[in-house]
Amino acid sequence: YGDSAHLNEAMAVLQHHDAVSGTSKQHVADDYARQLAAGWGPCEVLLSNALAKLSGSKESFSFCHFLNISVCPLSQTSAHFQVTIYNPLGRKVDWMVRLPVSEGLFLVKDPSNKTVLSKVVELPSSDNPELLFPASVPALGFSIYSVTQVPVWRPQARPPKPWPQKFG
């Protein structure tokens, strides 16, 4: 069971002007961060339950907290995963998804199983290449995109043996 009470409590404590404006001692600021982080955990369970119910399938959802520094264990290690994008705005939005990945090519499909243009971009300021693809998300709703790594055929020293032809 997830619940948002912990996060509610933390947000209530953080209405203090020291938390809002950063005028507390360092150890107090660290404790504010600790309370927020402790509140996130049960909330993620709550969100996972909601997404499972709304999307119709139970998943072990992964919330990548470090996307802003291009770190996300699931997208960096999995050859296949799905990306759920939730849009809290009351209008449809188009949005560029950026996810750190391992090397290679990826096939991205939108909710209607159509292939979406995607690019893996090498970045000079980061060790991890990033997969980019444009997503469209409905108002106050979500879209689920699937991402599959495409095996990259590397030219061997010898061309691969031709497949035995089956003559029909």
């Binding site: 404006s21 499972a52 399938s57 994008i85 809290p88 980019l132």
Partner: protein, 281 residues
């Protein structure tokens, strides 16, 4: 050498061939071009002086002199151009870098800045700003929001409700910026959206600055009892400024919609996929 630039259907940004700094922003479908030089500077934090022993600290911003120091006079640049994004990576110093990004279909420039750990080995506290300098004749005025709602007109060295005797030419002109700050000459408007609350000002006509990070060495004697120093080697911070150039009459629609999208940005959740059905049967 050909000019370093990034472009989409609506915008083109060019960069100075010698310094690597942003140089112009052009709105292609409105034939609007504005020279915009953007770079990072730092104020030396005051530890008290002849005028007052007030130090810069958690409660107080008080630079020791009006003119900030440039973090660097040039940036190392690296260009990334693909069908889905064009970006210029700028490295100003070991502790200050930025990516200037342009996605297809968008009408704003995204500046993702990364600042810190701020070096204080020289025993100087530092307050880092990102500053945009343009030729706009703004006549001492600029605009900042209040919690993303009402935008207030600010006038340099002036207060609407009392006769101000300005004793702090920099800090006395800094205001809270919760979501946006802009400058205009009545025809053209440059707006910068923030992804968090920051201090901001326009200390010279056509100029606009936002404070992105601070690291200080002395307590400001207002009750915290320790300097704003962070533990160990200090933290580095990453954030984004979204820059919009528009005609003054069209600017509001642009920054209001984009600010909403920034505040209520889509959330991404990943999963391996192929999980069991949630519903019985």
């Amino acid at each position: 050498p050909s000019v370093l630039s990034i472009k989409n259907e609506y915008l083109q940004a060019t960069f100075h061939p010698d310094t690597g700094f942003l140089r112009t922003i052009e709105v292609l479908d409105r034939k609007l071009v504005l020279p915009v030089s953007q770079a990072f500077f730092w104020y030396n934090a005051s530890t008290g002086d002849k005028q007052s022993d007030q130090a810069s600290g958690a409660y107080i911003f008080r630079p020791s002199r009006e003119k900030p120091f440039p973090v660097s006079h040039w940036a190392q640049t690296h260009l990334v151009k693909t069908a889905l994004v064009q970006e210029v990576h700028q490295k100003f110093s070991a502790w200050c870098s930025q990516v200037v990004r342009l996605y297809p279909g968008q009408r704003h420039l995204e500046l993702e800045w990364t600042v810190g750990p701020i070096p204080v080995g020289d025993k100087w506290g530092k307050e880092i700003i990102s500053r945009f300098d343009t030729p706009l004749k703004t006549l001492g005025s600029f605009y900042t929001d209040s919690n993303g709602r009402e935008v207030l007109k600010r006038r340099r060295d002036y207060r609407p409700s009392w006769e101000l005797n300005q004793t702090e030419p920099v800090a006395g002109n800094y205001y809270p910026v919760n979501s946006r700050i802009y400058i205009t000459d009545g025809k053209t408007q440059l707006t910068v959206l923030t992804d968090r609350s920051q201090g901001g000002s326009s200390l010279r006509d056509g100029s606009l600055e936002l404070m992105v990070h601070r690291r200080l060495l002395k307590d400001d004697a207002r009750g915290v009892g320790e300097p704003l120093l962070e533990s160990k080697s200090g933290v580095w911070v990453r954030g984004r400024h979204l820059v919009l150039l528009d005609t003054a009459c069209d600017a509001a629609a642009g920054h209001r919609l984009l600010a909403e999208k920034e505040l209520l940005a889509p959330q991404v959740v990943l999963a391996p996929g192929g999980g069991p059905s949630y519903h019985f049967g």
